[in-house]
């Protein structure tokens, strides 16, 4: 029995019955990494020695006692590298502190094990923008794992990890979860502290669990959620036990299908899987109805103005002064900035900094940035209106399954448009969950995972997890 192939909940059961120890579990994960990661490339680094030492001291009575969890490489874990998959930080930055989510995982007994690959500074939807290495989809190594949390999704899907943390700014937890066949949850904005998360877009970023089951996601969310005095955007609201209502079923749950989402651009095989998933939920007692989100068509443009504007401000700190790459061919202060950043950042990061700087610059600020913020209000109001009629909104997470590595690298805009189903949730601050709902065949005969996305009211992660769990159980039966 390979302990690395268990869910977090199953592994915890083994610990508590004495059937397995955290040391054995960490060894199993390390063996899995040694056997599989050369081909998949999900991890940028991992510290076996520290993980084994922590496993030996683990207290399995704690909520996540002895459970190893892989961490996306932009969340600070004290003493570990934090590269954001960028040459500007690779080998040049060791985290001097634990992010709040890491402090909470540790207090619950979990073991942060491994730094996972990602699109550089979380900018991308395929992990191809990593400045350091390629990650391959475990279901088909010629294809992307999705992004930007592609490394986290891949290692969970390949059983190279029990669970992982990812981050989601425009879909970066949900979409790779969909492409790799695992569960991914983006919490409500403000539900989880961003202290210690390297910021991409401060009004959009959230940290969330990427797991093998909805129950596992519920357990991790319960530990990391809650107000943090170090993050003034975190919400001062109680954290429920997300596992308490997991098995309550979906009888009477009103599920809305947005008519603007079910459009021609969805791959027909993906659409079939989503329809089948919705029918399964209907068979379990959910009521399915149509809703309208009329401002859907503006969401991608709105997002790429707001997110890049915020990113251009957040990435100004990478200037070669206090940490990270400093150019050796700069002789003035100004050229130290311009050359360090030129040498350290990859293409997509430069493009987004330029775009963000442009939309904020004098003469363009009102026409682009302020206008986008107003349209953001309209996008959010669409959801508020829809949630007066339904409890959950369902859609594909992505219009297609994973594409081939290299297929879209030359066309940034084409890549941006694929975020159409995930992006509005970040603009609106609402929570979103992607659960695996089958596979579609590729032209090579590999089976590519498809994700069902469920969106919920602010702070209603419990309903999303209940619906996702209900679907999961029905799928197994």
């Amino acid at each position: 029995m390979d302990l690395a192939s268990l869910t977090l909940t199953e592994l915890q059961g083994r610990f508590r019955s004495g059937a397995a120890s955290p040391t054995e579990a960490v060894r199993a994960v390390l063996d899995s990494i040694a056997n599989k990661d050369a081909a998949i490339g999900g991890y940028l680094s991992h510290d076996a020695e520290t993980a084994l030492r922590e496993a030996a001291q683990a207290d399995v009575s704690l909520p996540l006692g002895g459970i190893p969890i892989a961490i996306k490489d932009l969340i600070n874990v004290k003493g570990q590298p934090c590269s954001c998959a960028s040459k500007i930080l690779h080998g040049k930055y060791t985290a001097p502190y634990d992010a709040t989510v890491i402090q909470r995982l540790r207090a619950a007994g979990a073991i942060p094990l491994g730094r996972t690959n990602m699109d550089e500074f979380a900018m991308g939807s395929s992990t191809e923008n990593s400045g350091l290495q390629i990650t391959r989809n475990p279901h088909d190594p010629s294809r992307i794992p999705g992004g930007s949390s592609g490394g986290s999704a891949a290692v969970v899907a390949a059983n190279e990890a029990i669970a992982a943390l990812g981050t989601d700014t425009g879909g970066s937890i949900r979409q790779p979860a969909s492409h790799c066949g695992c569960v991914g949850l983006k919490p409500t904005y403000g539900r989880v502290s961003r202290f210690g998360l390297v910021a991409f877009a401060s009004s959009l970023d959230q940290i969330g669990p990427m797991t093998k089951s909805c129950e596992d996601a519920a357990r991790i969310l319960g530990v990391i959620a809650g107000r943090d005095s170090n993050d003034s955007t975190s919400l001062d609201l109680p954290v429920p036990d997300y596992t308490a209502t997991l098995n309550d079923g979906v009888k009477g749950l009103r599920i809305g299908l947005p008519k603007e989402y079910f459009i021609d651009g969805i791959d027909p095989a993906v659409r079939d899987r989503i329809n089948a998933a919705v029918e399964t939920l209907a068979a379990q007692g959910a009521e399915i109805r149509e809703v309208s989100l009329p401002n859907t068509k503006y969401a991608v443009a709105t997002y790429y103005i707001i997110a890049t504007a915020e990113a251009s401000a957040n990435l100004a700190r990478f200037d070669g002064v206090r940490y990270g790459h400093r150019s050796t061919v700069a002789d003035t202060l100004l050229s130290q900035y311009t050359r360090s950043r030129e040498e350290g950042f990859g293409d997509e990061v430069k493009r987004r900094i330029l775009l963000g700087t442009y939309v904020l610059s004098a003469g363009y600020h009102d026409a682009y940035y302020v206008r986008a913020q107003k349209i953001r209000t309209l996008v959010r109001d669409d959801f508020t209106r829809a949630f007066a009629e339904v409890d959950v909104i369902a859609s594909p997470t992505s219009p297609t399954a994973a594409f081939r590595i290299g297929e879209n690298s030359d066309d940034p805009l084409h890549m941006y448009l694929a975020d159409i189903f995930t992006i509005a949730a970040n603009l609106s601050g609402i929570p979103g969950l992607s659960v695996p709902c089958g596979t579609v065949p590729s032209d090579k005969g590999t089976a590519l995972p498809v994700g069902l996305q469920l969106l919920g009211k602010p702070m209603d992660e419990a309903t999303l997890l209940r619906a996702g769990n209900s679907y999961e159980i029905a799928g197994r039966g």
Partner: protein, 93 residues
């Protein structure tokens, strides 16, 4: 549609682009900027901008000093350090 001035924008963003990058990024970014013209068709009169989707206000804490990094911790990742200071190129002529 306005033509994005990549050179001017790069200067504002403190990026020293190569000539090849300037041309390539201009083409790619102009494509994106042209796509954003879509937003002009929306009637935004009387709409308040949203900067913060799930807003909180007046988040305060007690004005009490708390422990922070030591100088060594803060300087641990410094590209160049002299004593307890970050060493940088000359700032003032």
């Amino acid at each position: 549609m306005p033509d994005i001035d990549v050179t001017r924008t790069a200067n504002l963003a403190r990026l020293e682009l190569s000539p090849e990058e300037t041309v390539r990024f201009h083409e790619q970014l102009q494509h994106v900027v042209n796509y954003m013209a879509l937003l002009e068709e929306v009637d935004v009169s009387d709409i308040e901008p949203t900067a913060h989707a799930v807003p909180v206000f007046d988040v305060m804490r007690e004005d009490v000093a708390r422990p922070g990094f030591t100088a060594d911790e803060a300087l641990a990742n410094a590209p160049r350090r002299v004593g307890d200071q970050f060493h940088v190129p000359k700032v003032i002529e």
